[in-house]
């Protein structure tokens, strides 16, 4: 069993951090929420509605967007193509529409293209827009995944280690972008992150997992002084240092 009795709430318009040592079940938790894994028991509610046995793509359409830990990009598609995949209901994705609703498709593509350009500037990939996504660095792929999520405009965003491998100056921009999502657009965000600096800077609440169980929940400050949390990180790995580094 990967997760047992994990229960937490992500408030609308907040940023919640999900942390824990390696193998503590963070990614499993993400996969269950976004429908990629099926759960044996337990309940998940999204906007007051129970979500049960719903295919991932339907959840995505309902407004649950996610990124992946190992940044998934479509390697032999350009950065721009990757972004243009994001908008959810595109007329041009229907076979008959391709032939009979050309004008509408052209209009939509133009709109999406312009939005994509804005996002490219935000994640600083504009110069690489026509490069194959497979040629990007790990950090750039992360940025691309984030950009794609921004363009797909979900209500609830699951970010799996968005800053891993991203260079420090860019992390600042990333943090600003994520904050803006919450403050200006009222998005709800659940974030897996190892960088405690990022966690303490943007999270309203932090949930800590260890061996598939929730061991703590609270504000970033509370968490950093929680004994159970320190113990988990001490016994698990060297992450202990990174917790103290910024406290």
């Amino acid at each position: 069993m990967a997760l047992a009795g994990v229960s937490f709430r992500v408030d609308q318009g907040s940023i919640t951090g999900l942390i824990g040592p390696n193998g503590s079940g963070k990614s499993t938790c993400f996969n269950i929420i976004s429908g990629f894994y099926t759960k044996d028991r337990g309940e998940i509610y999204f906007q007051g509605e129970k979500i049960e046995n719903i295919e991932p793509f339907r959840l995505a359409r309902m407004g649950i967007g996610r990124t992946f830990q190992i940044a998934a990009v479509t390697e032999k598609m350009t950065v721009l193509e990757n972004l243009l995949l994001a908008p959810k209901t595109q007329t041009g994705e229907g076979v008959f529409n391709v032939f009979f609703r050309a004008a509408k498709i052209r209009r939509q593509e133009k709109e999406n293209y312009e939005k994509a350009l804005e996002i490219l500037n935000l994640v600083q990939l504009y110069d690489l827009r026509n490069e194959y996504a497979g040629n990007l660095s790990g950090g750039q792929k992360k940025l691309l995944s984030l950009g794609r999520i921004l363009l797909s405009d979900p209500l609830f965003i699951l970010l799996d280690e968005p800053t891993a491998g991203v260079n420090p100056t860019l992390i600042k921009d990333l943090i600003a972008a994520v904050k803006r999502l919450r403050d200006e657009e009222g998005k709800t965000i659940l974030l897996v992150e190892h960088n405690m600096k990022v966690i303490s800077e943007i999270c309203d609440k932090v949930v800590v997992l260890d061996f598939g169980r929730k061991i703590a929940e609270g504000t970033p400050k509370e968490i950093q002084n929680n004994e159970k949390v320190l113990e988990a990180y001490l016994s698990g790995s060297s992450k202990h240092e990174s917790i103290h580094e910024n406290s």
């Binding site: 990629f36 793509f57 990009v73 032999k76 598609m77 350009t78 076979v95 391709v98 593509e109």
Partner: protein, 305 residues
Amino acid sequence: MGFINFLVYLAIMMGIFAILSVSLNLQYGFTGLANFGQVAFFCLGAYATTIVTLTFNMSFFLGLIAAMFLAGLFGYIIAIPTADLREDYWAIVTLAAGEIVRIFFLNEDWVVGGGPYRGGAYGVGDIPQPFRSHFSAQTYPFFYLGIVLACLLVTYLIVNRLTKSPFGRVLKSIREGDDNLAQAMGKDVKKFRIKTMAIGGIFGGLAGCLYAHYYGFISPQEFVPLETFIVWAMVIVGGEGNNKGAILGSVIIILFYNSTRYLKDYIPINETTLASLRMVAIGVLIVVVMLFMKEGLIKEKKRIY
């Protein structure tokens, strides 16, 4: 005149197989669906039009529509239970499906009653050639070449338009390895795969129909898995994910395939050995292309916005 007739024959074969390879390219090159049963579409198309035009005495156009419809429907049905499978399992299932179709026509002779051939293993002959009476024996092949090229052009335009559209963009994202990404973007991956197989089937059926009416005779022996691999060779050599590449590939492979006819005068090997060697030649060609031009003769074009 004999030489020109041979060229026309070559061009017709190239056209028919180009339709098949453009269809396979849509499935494999763009969507990553390793269809090892492409010949099933070809076979179904050929038999569908034969039954419609020969058994029921209806027009070529109805035969054409029946061929496309039946093969498309077959693609659709095959894809429903298998759309979640991984690429390697997909290949196994489609290979088996192709054989099922062939063996069905091998064992059932009721499907095409009448004529000197009774169907089944004997094959079916006397398949009518469209508008044959309007032309002389000399000019008819040219007319038929026109039909084939028109069909190829339509196929190319439709598939090209699809692959360049947002629909094609989703197909490429499905091809790129795992479904998760496309799913996370809210794309109904399964549905896209099913649609692609149906469209691939429609054009595969079209090629089968053209083949049946050109030869006037078909038998299950012509729809063995080897045919599928010849189409694969076309896609690999020409360039995966490029519609023009698929057409170029079919031109080259058909040239190789028919090489015994013109090489026998120049190479001092007896004709039977030479005929066997042509498959070796195609194999070597694939190896060379894979080694030195991994992406085929025409690379997939980068989409620039």
